[in-house]
Symmetry: C2
Subunit: 343 residues, 2 copies
DNA sequence: TCTTGGAGTGTTATCGCTAACATGATCCTC
DNA sequence: GAGGATCATGTTAGCGATAACACTCCAAGA
């Protein structure tokens, strides 16, 4: 609105024509230099670059977007949570996108329901984003993505494993399998599982992996203890589990659940790992400082971010892909919360 | 690039002129309806709205930005961390901005040094953001902000308390004072402090508040135990503190430090709160499930976000402000980690 | 010598919108 | 009922970039 006034004259940000005038060329030549077009004489290129530097010229992205119909923006839709997993993923993705020259426009939604997600997606389309990344860990979120018109480059993260569209997921099953197997290998007869919210695919995958490991080992499958991702729910689950003498090993669907379980065990005089062994999932930075340090599964968020970006970029310049699904394997981090069962 | 093909004809997104044609008015009238201009007959307005709905028209923000020179975008510069405080703040701010009709473009920086921040700011300026919010919790970050040309609406969060520019901060001093006072009131002779990274203003404010509370009570001021924000550093500090019999009360600069201290105490057979009382800062969601549940200070991130947005919006339509600094008071959450000192 | 073609550059149109001014109708005021 | 204000709408001119095409050289080949 108010242009800065310098030396009594009103100025504005320099535009391409200003650079052109200073360099003694046409604005189109400036555009060519900027976009790395080959047919520009070296000498001209230098003159233009000098003029750009002298004026402190920076291209107007809105103008470029208007004429090309595309921006260098990636829209991200995510749940409005500070859960460690999604937050880490987001951070990793922003960093990866930034390195590739893309800015990230973030739209968080309070609830992962159809209308909120649709609105967030529309918001991004309004901004003419080049592509959209949706962190869609629940069934309802996934359904909403079905409404996105084909032709909008889209990558889903942590979505429905049965989805056919481009998607990147952490291999929840493998992680849960490893966690469970690790406990069985320590000598436990079976492993109990405190699961995440049932409508989250992550939680479902972890349940499946847990079951598979038990089945493969011929172990009895105890009843599932359903919870959500919070330490509070873990605490409640732990209060139950602590009452049952036959419970010697618990796989918690994430580290905060595990924290709640640890606390409940401690309150009821059960020692971890002497009486009960526990494994978590996520490897939050503080997991090493739980009492005792928590054995857990570490997903590779950076790898997820990298894959996500590569799937998106492939769509941007290539159209449909042959192998649109990528899976990233997690890693078991062994600490002090697992031991052989008591005699 | 590739326009979708419908019914054999190549189509493109409807533009304002398409709406105008369908409604039998000029494109300018459509623009007036869209921008809530008063001088439009009700009947015309309805016809235009109907045409908009029928075509599924959505205004092109790039075109609007080009002509107005402004976007409905707020650029946020933040550290690339998943620390609870900044992450919560970010989430709260995005939500507040969204409600006010602004999108948020986020640029995270790996290091809070001058050049990284300058680059992030330039990035936002390239995108012609309406304003910038900088989460600048360290001295170096703050210095970098000095380079931002006047005229760019800017709000700093968690910045240098001595800054004269618009800024919102949590009242670290008051929180730390309350925490310390709470421990003194429980009967402790003095309170030790494990602090955050010395170059963070938050950490500095908490140190000051701690000292003030001790001074006011006439208590001896023990040496400061400097750390960073991590549970690991808290653990190391805790290992020292646990060796000293005279340490009966510790104020940790955040909850994760407190977690590390709890673990160190537990390892050395010190009971919390029977032998040592501990207070944290942040009230992370799982703090209630530490062993024992942690007494801590809860900052009101939503309030910070609200104030930040309001300061920014005020600059957008009003120019300079008379009271550009806002402080948000935190709240003590009493749990089980504080008790009178042992006899 | 006369094409032919590509390299280097300029000219013009265009993207979709808002700002500024122009126009015509309607209403009030004296 | 004439003149001016106000309302409702249209017309035109950009915003700052890219795309498409036109043009001028000049070297290479017929």
């Amino acid at each position: 609105m108010d242009d800065p006034v310098v030396g009594g004259r009103v100025t504005r940000d320099p535009a391409m024509t200003d650079v052109a005038r200073l360099a003694g060329v046409s604005h189109q030549t400036v555009s060519r230099v900027l976009n790395g077009h080959p047919n520009v004489r070296e000498q001209t290129r230098l003159r233009v670059r000098a003029a750009i530097a002298e004026l402190g010229y920076r291209p107007n992205k809105a103008a470029r977007a208007l004429v090309t119909g595309r921006t260098q923006l990636i829209g991200v839709v995510a749940a409005n949570s500070t859960l460690f997993g999604p937050a880490s993923l987001l951070a990793a993705f922003e960093s990866a996108a930034g390195e590739a020259g893309f800015a990230v426009s973030l739209k968080r939604v309070k609830v992962l329901d159809r209308s909120s997600i649709a609105e967030a997606v529309e918001h991004h389309r309004d901004q003419r984003v080049a592509g959209i990344v949706a962190i869609a860990p629940t069934a309802s979120a996934n359904e909403a993505l079905a409404d996105i018109p084909a032709g909008v480059p889209l990558v889903t993260v942590d979505g429905d494993p049965r989805r056919a569209t481009p998607m990147v997921t952490v291999d929840q099953q493998a992680g849960a399998f490893d966690a469970t197997h690790h406990l069985l290998a320590a000598g436990h007869r079976t492993v109990w599982h405190v699961s995440g919210p049932p409508d989250w695919f992550d939680a479902q995958g972890r349940v499946t992996g847990w079951q598979k490991a038990l089945e493969e080992a011929g172990a009895e499958i105890p009843p599932l203890v359903a919870a959500d991702w919070s330490a509070a729910a873990g605490y409640r689950a732990g209060q139950m589990l602590a009452r049952m003498p036959e419970v010697t090993a618990v796989f918690a669907a994430n580290d905060h659940l595990a924290l709640g379980i640890l606390r409940a065990m401690s309150e009821r005089g059960k020692h971890v790992p002497a009486d009960v062994s526990i494994v978590g999932f996520d490897d939050v930075p503080e997991a090493e400082y739980f009492i005792p340090p928590l054995t857990t599964i570490r997903p590779d968020f950076k790898a997820v971010a990298r894959e996500t970006l590569s799937l998106l970029l492939a769509q941007l310049d290539g159209g449909p892909l042959d192998t649109p699904q990528r899976t990233v394997g997690p890693q078991l981090i062994a600490r002090a919360s697992v031991a052989p069962p008591p005699q």
